[in-house]
Amino acid sequence: MMALPPLRQSAAPSLRMTIRSIGIAGLGLMAVVVSLTDVIARVPAGTDHVGPPLTPPSALFQFGTDLFGRDIASETLHALAVTVDTASLAMLVTILAGGFAGFVAARLPWGLGFLLRWIVGVLTALPPLFLAILCIGLSNRGLAPLYAGLAASPLAFVRAFDRARALGTSPHADYARATGVSAMTLLRRDLTYELREGILAVAARALAAVTIILSTVSFFGFGSAPPNRDLGLMIASARETYIGAWWTAAFPIVALALLILFARLAAGLEEGERP
């Protein structure tokens, strides 16, 4: 019988917990800010001529204004809200189509699981960014969160599949089968343990991945569209001015980097990495 490798390397719990706590607190803070966007933001999304064009940060406009006189602080808040909304949806898709589907596929009968593993394995040979753009090009940009989630899922699918196969040949699975426990009950048991032990880390890692994909897709012009600009599109629209007016790109970049950073910290250390 094969001895299973541990899910993670032995970790210094205090450091891991501190890192995760910082990440979760940061994500919580962002969730509060996003839910209060309409209260905190000075003007609605896309309001032009709030101030003179390209005003540097000042007491009146804390983050300055852009080429159309839009308040960067308000625009960044609105764009952050759009990014968080779409990334949350995409994260759910990744968890379902990646980790969950991979785990279930490993227990499918008649070699169906291996067929699915091969199909999804082919997709891992392409960068998720390219897959997302291809799917959006084949349909429409309104479905960008769905496709970003699907594009991020092949690697999670393959990892979950391989892990579920290993669990299926582990001693506890052999004992369970020998005592007459059904395959479905065993699957439910393994899934419950997997979810209980790692769902937060998996969700946070998926959130970071889909945020990067979605913002890059929008940066290329395949994602969100005005007036619902996300951070990627906001940064793309600052391309023409940011060399002379740094604030037009800097604040959205900081907001985007913070979101990804908190998600990564909430996931703890990267998979397989010692603390």
Partner: protein, 277 residues
């Protein structure tokens, strides 16, 4: 698995090439395109009317040049960084997350801003026909200048992937019981690390070469878009936007083949070093 992967990539590319510009998708067309692909007939670009293979073949060398430059930066920076963060500066390892949190396009924009303000150098893509380093003299300088920022952008993304691969490999190798046994036999830590641990970490990193190449491809798309680099990755973006599916399919196929070959070679090299079962 390598052969099956190539077959899958071939089928995927043919399925994309069969997408009609207007109207619904037809299984018959998909089968016809699959047969065409088997005969290496990749069709014509619906935008320029030129053979798709010629369009992609013209752009692919520029992407490979960019990927090579990025890979050199990635390994030169990423391996020492991964070793340092994995062994000496372990407490600083989480801090790398702060740097790695910025998406590649943000890093590219940052490099452009820095070059304009710190170096007083406004980046401009080299004029066509594309100068080559091999030509020497002014052409080589032009080529180096044009390659600097895109290469650094791709290299920075690659370095993040390489250092993570090194740390993961080191994380797996460090727990091996043989280290303790060798120490009991009288070998010093440095000798054990140099003779046994280093090859194992190198093998672990090579086993993840496919993942590193995927990161380099994504970064190349961003760098080509940002810096006006005339490569195949940006051709992919434009062909998707213009629904030029023959070109899209061929770029996808080329990237998938390169990625699969890189993964296969990485695993072979790792096995040769004895680091992967």
């Amino acid at each position: 698995m390598f052969g099956l992967g190539l077959l899958g990539a071939w089928i995927l590319a043919a399925a994309v090439a069969a997408v009609p510009a207007h109207g619904g998708y037809s299984l018959r067309t998909a089968l016809v395109r699959l047969a065409d692909f088997a005969r290496l007939d990749f069709g014509a670009s619906s935008i320029s009317g030129l053979r798709a293979a010629a369009v992609v073949g013209e752009r692919l060398p520029a992407t490979l040049e960019l990927l090579t430059a990025g890979a050199i930066v990635a390994f030169v920076v990423g391996i020492p960084l991964g070793v340092l963060l994995g062994r000496g500066l372990r407490a600083a390892a989480p801090l790398i997350q702060v740097v790695a949190a910025a998406p590649v396009f943000c890093a590219g924009l940052g490099l452009l801003w820095l070059s304009a303000h710190a170096l007083r150098w406004t980046y401009a893509p080299a004029p066509l026909p594309w100068p080559s380093l091999a030509e020497g003299g002014r052409a080589a300088l032009l080529a180096l200048g044009a390659l600097a920022l895109p290469g650094l952008t791709v290299g920075a993304a690659g370095a993040a992937a390489v250092q993570l691969a090194v740390r993961r490999a080191e994380s797996g190798a460090i727990e091996e019981p043989y280290r303790h046994g060798l120490r009991l036999l009288g070998l010093g830590s440095f000798e054990i690390d140099r003779l046994y641990l280093a090859p194992q970490i190198l093998a672990g990193m090579l086993a993840r070469f496919g993942e590193i190449v995927l990161t380099l491809f994504s970064a190349a798309a961003v760098a080509e878009w940002l810096f006006g680099w005339p490569g195949a990755a940006v051709l992919f973006l434009k062909s998707v936007a213009l629904h030029d599916w023959n070109v899209t399919a061929l770029v996808l196929l080329a990237f998938a083949v390169i990625s699969l070959v890189a993964d296969f070679c990485g695993v072979l090299a790792a096995r040769a070093l004895g680091g992967v079962p």
